[in-house]
């Protein structure tokens, strides 16, 4: 009798315990990289994620005038929409005691951020509508407005990460982040 009871207990243990342990929640569905591609728009500062395509400042100017200038102003200097911010100018204004004018040219540390941001968020009224060539061209135009590249320099997946931004070394870590 006691043997039977012991067997019964051990069977119960065997059948219930593994089931309880194995019920870790697994509700995510596998997804193939190809199916993520349309959303995978992050560009690393090393250029990781940059798509094929190319553009120059000359090509970018027409796109800028048609799709960007209404908010960002002619040549990116005097935005008509305050939150748009100036895209060009402000060189030297980070110096101590000066009122900083933080633009792509004076402040942004990485040129790759231009491609990442323009593609995901601009033009404001129809984001994610520009082709890769158009994003490269507009990026080149803004870099050229700041005197960082020439008007015929080709900007593509290879050249964009190599653009040395004037304020590349302008950032230091915050000393009081949690460990």
């Amino acid at each position: 009798m006691s043997t039977l009871k012991a067997i019964a207990v051990s069977i119960t243990t065997l059948t219930i315990a593994p089931a309880a342990v194995a019920q870790a929640q697994q509700f995510g569905q596998p997804i193939a990289p190809a199916d993520i591609a349309a959303w995978d728009i992050s560009i690393g500062p090393d250029g990781a994620g940059l798509p094929p395509g190319r553009g120059t400042a000359i090509e970018g100017e027409a796109i800028y005038v048609a799709k960007c200038q209404a908010c960002h102003g002619e040549k990116g200097i005097s935005p008509s929409v305050a939150l748009a911010g100036a895209l060009a100018g402000g060189m030297g204004t980070l110096a101590p005691g000066k009122t900083p004018i933080k633009t792509v040219g004076s402040f942004w540390p990485y040129a790759t951020t231009l491609f990442d941001y323009i593609r995901r968020a601009m033009p404001f009224q129809e984001s994610k509508s520009l082709t890769a060539d158009e994003v490269y061209a507009v990026s080149a135009y803004i870099l050229n407005l700041n005197g960082i590249i020439g008007s015929n320099d080709v900007i593509d997946a290879q050249s964009l990460p190599k653009v040395k931004m004037p304020n590349r070394d302008g950032f230091i870590p915050f000393p009081r982040n949690p460990k």
Partner: protein, 423 residues
């Protein structure tokens, strides 16, 4: 009256009429504070109002505030900026307690508030993971959930106090980019464990489903520590303006990193250097360098009452009430001053005192009708003390824009009106 009186409690414990917090702790009131009311005759003859006699209206599917509270609204600038870009601010001076009503929680958006069909929403986890995964809102809802009360503060809150001259602004206009809710959702670590990250993964790029696809790089350590993928805000589904149907909560971290309308988490070896973590939300110091990746919102407090727009009608007893919070832990102490910081006394802290959540503090004040400068100074349980404005400026100058957390001052004039000053 059976109320006990403690005459010794009526003696100020700090300059210009700050009384002991024991008044709250021991449930006693100061004799002088109540004498004005007691010395008068009958206040008024009570009348029977119409609503005391007639049945009121019936049920409503979703309750609304009284129409008499129509002035308690978020504040935001008028156009010309495109609608929904920028921020709307919580009217802190009209609220009490620690929780922000969901409809009054501040919002910051970069391309308006998207109207997301929850059935079509997806959250994808990919990059340096063993198993790229996609989740629907329904599958996220099947995980065990967790609630926590936490503040979210915009990195740009209180930036008006960087101005060289104090601006004539009220508490909402200056400090209204902070809110607190009970957030409920799934621990991000649960989802990342399921995806299984590669050993070289150090960062998580979080991205929203809004038209701006707002994105920020988050240290994997934070994601695995206390990050929450939130489905609920104060018991109901997260409001659209706060990220419906899914938002990220990174307790204590800069508001901008708590990505709303969360659609994607990509694990990477390094940060993406997105627009919002390079050109914005970096702190330009006095010299030419800027702090980057400034994560915690450091210890801070603000007096919400009295504050500009709330007039003290007559000399006498007033409660000084406000909020204190720290992105690094719990609030340990709040001191209050009525003489511009020359003398201080500890305020009463109202529980619960939770890490990375605001605490309501209260101090007793006998206003003598003369000029006063009210300040509050918070200390958290890491020992960090809210800096004076002078200490703050000495460390970083006034060009940093973001993460302003210095002691703020309200001047009370002889008319009982409060105004923003530097003191």
């Amino acid at each position: 009256m059976s109320r006990k009186t403690h005459p010794e409690l009526g003696d100020p414990v700090a300059g210009n009429g700050i009384l002991s917090r024991r008044i709250f702790l021991e449930g006693a009131l100061v004799v002088g504070a109540t004498s004005a009311g007691l010395s008068r005759g009958s206040a008024e003859q009570l009348t029977v109002q119409p609503w005391m006699k007639l049945p009121g209206p019936g049920f409503a599917g979703y309750g609304q505030p009284s129409p008499f509270e129509s002035k308690v609204v978020k504040v935001f600038p008028p156009p010309p900026n495109p609608a929904g870009v920028g921020a709307s601010r919580t009217p802190l001076h009209m609220l009490e307690g620690m929780i922000t009503p969901s409809g009054l929680h501040f919002e910051r958006s970069h391309s308006g508030v998207p109207e997301i069909d929850p059935d079509q929403h997806r959250l994808v986890i990919h990059g340096l993971v063993k198993r790229p995964l996609v989740f629907t809102v329904e599958t996220l809802s099947r995980y065990p959930m967790q609630s926590r009360i936490a503040f979210i503060e915009c990195g740009g809150n209180s930036l008006a106090l960087n101005a060289p001259q104090a601006q004539p602004l009220n508490v909402a206009a200056i400090h209204g980019l902070v809110g607190c809710a009970e957030w409920t959702g799934v621990r991000l670590s649960t989802l990342l464990d399921e995806a299984g990250f590669e050993p070289e993964a150090r960062w998580v790029i979080a991205e929203g489903a809004d038209a701006a696809a707002m994105s920020r790089s988050i240290p994997l350590t934070k994601a695995m520590d206390d990050a929450l993928v939130c489905l609920y805000q104060n018991g109901e589904r997260v409001r659209p303006s706060n990220g419906y149907p899914v938002r990220l909560l990174l307790p204590g971290f800069e508001g901008n990193m708590n990505v709303k309308w969360l659609r994607r988490l990509k694990l990477t070896a390094g940060p993406a250097m997105t627009k919002d973590e390079t050109s914005k939300y970096t702190i330009l110091l006095k010299e030419e360098k800027a702090w980057q990746f400034v994560f915690p919102m450091e210890v801070k407090s603000v007096i919400t009452r009295p504050s500009p727009g709330l007039v003290l009608k007559e000399p006498g007893f007033y409660e000084i009430s406000g909020l204190a919070w720290s992105g690094n832990g719990s609030i340990r102490q709040v001191d209050v001053s009525a003489d511009g910081g020359r003398s201080w006394a500890p305020a009463a802290l109202q529980g619960p005192i939770l890490p990375k959540a605001p605490v309501r503090f209260r101090a007793a004040w006998q206003w003598n009708g003369g000029p006063a400068v009210l300040q509050s100074r918070a200390t958290d349980d890491t020992g960090m003390v809210q800096p004076t404005r002078a200490q703050f400026v000495d460390e970083r100058g006034l060009r940093g824009v973001y993460h302003y957390n210095a002691i703020a001052s309200w001047r009370i004039d002889e008319m009982g009106e409060a105004s923003n000053v530097y003191a």
